[in-house]
Symmetry: C2
Subunit: 400 residues, 2 copies
């Protein structure tokens, strides 16, 4: 659904992807992203206490603020694989480092796929060196293909922004469709830019952007063991460094957030079995935190999501989900709108005519549900999908 | 699936039920439970901030520790109905009080069904007086029928226990199938006993029993606006009063918990679209609270529940759900069993042979998944259902 043009790509990076045989299907499953020189790096990772081996290793590696290569495979998550898993992850990075002629400490590794199965290391031993020989400045789209698991389509986004008179490019490549819930689920995202950034600024910009994008989407509340977002900045644009809070920095932050938001929405739209992308917009809460709690509660309610699937303007379920968010809600002040159609005023339904209009909106592939609590100025949003038969079908026999 | 015999019923109560036309289907939808004299009463209610009118009123009424009659309707929840809803709930109780010739303050009212639609009061005006004329000591089963909404079967349970040499009876009548999650979802339960109890003891016994039964079940995490559990003790057994912590008191507490547990398991088994009843047993946690958090996390994971539906021994999802429970989990110490089949030791899968045995267990209609964290002595359990196509079908168009 998204395709990168070569002109979108930031300077200073090369890419390669192949079918290494990790997936039984024979589809592409191994990819490499390499910076010409050690790049500034920042990352955010799953909050699950059960953390996959590649996450343990990559978190350690990028603590230095520098990274030159990311090796990523789909088809196997290398999670719940014990000491062997950690040794395998390490071996993956040394394979890449040897073939690239760089320090192993500069290589990150990410895996996504089935949990509890050892990595087929022979596939890596054979294919990582081949992958290095195929590196090209133009193959970013092939990386997006190779990291798919249950994804229906590859996910990429790009923006350009001018910093200190020089154009900078930001490109994002992500995967994720199921097990999507904050903080970041079975989701991998790699963001490359040729802007000039130090590690502290990169980390702060990334955390802010992730908190407003990937951490506000849900498909099924499950948080995976492997979620990783990595930002690499090559500095190859040759522009001025982005620091502090000036206009250039804000422009870059906005562009970064746009890239992540575009990817995040693609992930929800590609939610396993999802047919609808719904923005839950909460207004009038006592605080932003309260608004976020209500938005999350509504966005994750299985009853609300099945009602979206059935195009049923069942506002009772929405108000009930708001009620159990654990924050102040006065039903008598609640307004609910489906896009611009008011359905509830002062906690009371507005009748069949409005419901007819709301139903028409619910049949669209994309709409916004606004819940105004009428208590204050706090607002927040969340993106969610509907919950339909396909979700069950995909997840009842994912491994078979 | 459950049927009460007249010999199960505690002395001192009469029952009636009818089809009053609240439901469009013409099925029974109105019921009355009346004690011969004001009974000792305790209740537990939804923790949702959006609370239905009958909950507001009943909570107020039973604060006195006494109650003589419960009027309950299905087909309409009288929730999100504003001031009118509260006036209607009050009118329901005065209709019953007038026909019974008792104080309105002694009447509780419960409603379950669709949210946001005013109660059809004409149906109550006409049928409540008729209902009073039909009261009989034998119609408890009819009450169980009349309170059904999406329930596939009526839910009742009974126990006898000897207190001070005299037999006491406990009978429970419940409804609930969807929107089931602690604390107590779209669930109503009425427990009648002829034991002799004061209000404080009744409250304490009920809270303990609910915390170990109804608050440990989940079908879909949604907590409703109407959940209510009421305990009425008529004292008509003429036995000694249950107070303190002697053997008789413990015997009664155990029987009460058994009644509630039986009803709770029926509710999960009847979870909308559920085909399996699964006990998630957590052992070896640092504390009971930690164990409960892990049990809840596993029991509510949509991915775990769809794997149960597909009879897929996907222990990776179980360990991942344990990992995001927010408490200490060391994957390398985790053991997982499906009934008595070990599937994971020290966080590692035990291979295809064990998986074959586990799959056979997952095809049963009822089984236990044990997650041993290997960290301490804390244990707890949770009951959950699988998540299949029927859940989606039922909830996508509940109101049509």
């Amino acid at each position: 659904m998204s395709h990168l043009n070569v002109s979108d790509l930031p300077a200073g990076f090369r890419y390669a992807a192949c079918a290494a045989g990790v997936k039984k299907s024979g589809k592409p499953d191994l990819a490499l992203i390499v910076a010409d020189r050690p790049a500034t790096c920042a990352g955010t990772f799953t909050t699950n206490r059960v953390v996959a081996a590649p996450v343990v290793l990559t978190r350690e590696r990028i603590a230095s603020g520098r990274c030159q290569a990311i090796l990523v495979n789909s088809g196997n998550a290398n999670a719940c694989t014990g000491e062997q898993g950690l040794a395998d992850a390490r071996r993956c990075t040394s394979l890449a480092a040897e073939a690239l002629g760089i320090d192993e400490e500069l290589v990150a590794v990410c895996s996504t796929g089935v949990i509890g199965v050892p990595l087929p290391m022979a596939r890596f031993e054979e294919h990582v060196p081949l992958l290095v020989r195929q590196l090209s400045g133009e193959q970013a789209q092939a990386v997006a293909e190779a990291i798919r698991t249950t994804d229906a389509f590859p996910k990429t986004a790009a923006r350009q922004v001018v910093v200190g008179g020089r154009p900078c490019r930001i490109v994002g490549i992500a995967k994720g469709a199921g097990m999507i819930h904050p903080d970041m689920a079975t989701m991998l995202a790699f963001v490359m830019t040729d802007a000039v950034l130090d590690a502290a600024t990169a980390g702060s910009l990334l955390r802010t952007a992730v908190s407003r994008t990937f951490n506000r989407i849900t498909v099924d509340r499950d948080t995976s063991t492997n979620d990783t977002v990595l930002l690499l900045a090559s500095g190859a644009s040759g522009g001025t460094a982005i620091v502090g809070d000036d206009a250039a920095s804000r422009g870059f932050a906005a562009a970064l957030e746009e890239v992540l938001q575009e990817l995040a929405k693609m992930i929800v739209r590609d939610g396993e079995g999802a047919t609808k992308l719904v923005r839950i917009q909460v207004e009038g809460a006592r605080s932003e935190a309260d608004a976020l709690a209500v938005a999350r509660s509504v966005a994750t309610s299985a009853l609300v999501k099945t009602a979206f699937f059935g195009a049923d303007a069942n506002w009772g379920r929405i108000i009930a989900a708001a009620g159990y968010a654990g924050v102040e809600v006065d039903p008598q002040r609640v307004r609910i709108l489906f896009d611009d159609v008011a359905m509830v005023e002062s906690g009371l339904g507005l009748g069949m005519e409005q419901e007819g209009k709301a139903t028409a909106i619910l049949k669209q592939p994309e709409f916004t549900v606004t819940v105004d609590l009428g208590l204050g100025a706090g607002s927040a949003w969340y993106y969610t999908s509907d919950l339909g038969y396909e979700y069950v079908r995909i997840n009842a026999d994912y491994r078979s």
